[in-house]
Symmetry: C2
C-alpha cells in the first residue's frame, strides 16, 4: 500500500470509530427528555471531518496510547466542538441555516432546544472525560479536565468567539486576527493533541513540543478555512460558502490576499513538521494529518 493509501485507510478507520464512540456516549433517543436527546444526536452524529478526534488519535499514536482512552478524549473534544457550532449558528450569533450539509439545529428543532443541546453537550464532554480510570494516574486525569476547561472557556474557545463578534466590520491587524484564531479554533485543537498525548503518558517535555506543533496546526487550519471559504462552493463545504465576506469578517484572505495566505499556509505546515522532528517515525500520523489539512486548500 502506498503511504497515501495507508493514511486514507487510517483516517477512515478513526472517523468510523469516532462515530461509534460518540454514539455510545450520547444518551439514546428513547431516554427522557427524548426531544433533547434526539437533537443532541442530530447535532453530533453522521457528519463532520472529525479533525480534532483525528489529531487526538494521531498524537496518542506517538506514545502507543490505548485506543479506548483515545476514543474517550476524542469524544469529549468533539462534543465541545459540536456544541460551539450549534451555539455559533444561532440567530444571535452567526445566524446560519446549514451545517455539515444539514439544516442547523435551531432550524430542524427550535432555538431553545439548540441552546440546551449546546449546554448539555458541553456538560457531557466533561462527564465523558471524567470516565473512571481513563488514565492510570488520576492526578493526570484531573489536569486533563482542567486543560479542557481552560481550552473551552473565556481564555480559550469562548473567548475567541467573543473577540470574533467584536471584530465584525472592524479593521483589525494580522496580530489581532491571530489572537482571535489562537483562541477560537487553536485552543481546542491544542487540547485535542495534548489530551491524546496524555493518554499515552507523555512527559512535560514531550507535551511542550506537541503544544508547539498544535499551535502551528491550529493557525494552519484557520488559514486553510479562510482560503476554502473564498474558493469553494456551498455544496463542497456543507456549510454556507462566502459567509465571511458577506458578513464583512476579517480573514487571512481579506488581510493578506489569496496568494500570500497560501504562502502562509505552507510556512505554518513547515513549522508544524519541524516541531515533530524529535519524535521521528512515531509522529507519522501527525505529519500526514498536517499535510492533509493543507491539501484541502490547494
Amino acid at each position: 500500500m502506498t503511504p497515501a493509501n495507508d493514511f486514507s485507510v487510517w483516517m477512515q478507520s478513526i472517523q468510523a470509530r469516532t462515530e461509534t464512540a460518540l454514539d455510545h456516549r450520547l444518551p439514546a433517543k428513547t431516554i427522557v427528555p427524548t426531544r433533547l436527546h434526539d437533537a443532541m444526536r442530530y447535532a453530533t452524529l453522521g457528519g463532520g471531518k472529525r479533525v480534532r478526534p483525528l489529531l487526538a488519535h494521531a498524537a496518542g499514536s506517538v506514545f502507543n496510547a490505548p485506543a479506548e482512552a483515545l476514543d474517550t478524549v476524542a469524544s469529549a473534544v468533539e462534543m465541545i466542538h459540536v456544541y460551539s457550532l450549534v451555539h455559533d449558528d444561532l440567530p444571535c450569533m452567526d445566524d446560519d441555516v446549514l451545517r455539515r450539509g444539514k439544516p442547523t439545529v435551531h432550524i430542524e428543532f427550535d432555538e431553545a432546544t439548540a441552546m440546551l443541546v449546546g449546554d448539555a453537550l458541553q456538560a457531557l464532554a466533561f462527564q465523558v472525560l471524567a470516565t473512571p480510570s481513563l488514565v492510570s494516574d488520576s492526578q493526570r486525569q484531573v489536569s486533563m479536565l482542567a486543560l479542557l476547561g481552560q481550552a473551552s472557556g473565556s481564555r480559550g474557545m469562548a473567548g475567541g468567539q467573543a473577540v470574533d463578534l467584536d471584530s465584525v466590520g472592524q479593521q483589525i491587524t494580522l496580530e489581532a486576527l491571530e489572537f482571535m484564531h489562537i483562541h477560537k479554533t487553536g485552543a481546542l485543537i491544542r487540547a485535542a493533541v495534548l489530551l491524546g498525548a496524555h493518554c499515552g503518558n507523555a512527559d512535560t517535555t514531550e507535551l511542550s513540543k506537541l503544544a508547539h506543533y498544535a499551535n502551528r496546526v491550529g493557525l494552519l487550519f484557520q488559514v486553510v478555512d479562510d482560503i476554502l471559504d473564498t474558493e469553494a462552493d456551498t455544496a463542497t463545504l456543507g456549510k454556507t460558502a462566502g459567509k465571511d465576506e458577506a458578513q464583512n469578517k476579517p480573514t487571512y484572505v481579506s488581510l493578506l490576499g489569496l496568494s500570500r495566505a497560501k504562502a502562509l499556509a505552507t510556512e505554518l505546515r513547515d513549522e508544524a513538521h519541524a516541531a515533530l522532528v524529535d519524535f521521528g517515525d512515531r509522529a507519522q500520523r501527525l505529519h500526514q494529518l498536517t499535510d492533509f489539512i493543507v491539501a484541502r486548500s490547494f
Copy 2:
C-alpha cells in the same frame, strides 16, 4: 447568642466568602476579551442568595471539610447555576429582563454576549473543580467532576429545562412536575450537597444519606419558589413575580392550591430533617438551612 442569631451570622459569613471566592476565580475585567469578562462578573457577582454554596458549606461542616476546598466546590456549583440563569433569561427561553434586582445580561450587554457568558461560566466551573489537589484522593476528584457533569447535563439540569419548555401550557400530573424539578433544580442542589461532603471525605453510606436529604431539599426549594412566585412582589423577589402564572406554567400552587402546597413544604422539611438524624449535631447547619428555606415561604 441565640441559635437563630448564630445561624444568621454563619449564613452571612458563607455568603461573603462565596463572593470573595467567586471574585478570585473569575478572570479580571482587564483581561482580554474584556467585555466578556466584564459580563461574566456582572452575571455572577453582587447578588443571589447563594443557596447552593450554603448547602455545600453546610454539608462539608458535617465532616470538618477544609473551608478552602468548600469555597472551590461552592464556586463551581454557583457558576453552573448562574450560567443556567443567564441562558434561561434569553429571549428564546424565558425572555426575562430582571434578575437579582438588575437588568439581565442580554439586556445590559447583548444576546450573543449572554450566550457566551453562559458557555464560558460552564467551562470555568469544571476548570475550577479541576483545581490541583482539591481533595487528597485524585480518583475522588475525578468522580466529583463526573458528578457535576451529570448534574448539569441532559439527565440533570439542562434536561429539566427541556422538560420545562415542553410543559408550558400543558396539563401535567404532579408526578411529571416532580420529575421536571428533580432535574431542573434538584440535580444541582444534590451536587452542591454531595460535593461539599466529598471535600470532607464522606464515605458511600454517608453520601447516600445526604443524597436522600438533598432530594427532599431540592423539591422543597421548588415548592417554596412556587409559593413565593404567587405571594411575593417583584421588588422582594428581585425577579419578575407572577411569571409562572402569566406564562401558564404548571407549578405546585397551580396543581395543589396554596394551602396544600404549604402542607407539602412542611412534609418535605420533616423528611429532610429525618434524613439527617444519623449525623446528630454535626448536621446542625444543614438542619437550620432547611428551616431557613421553608421560612422564606411563610
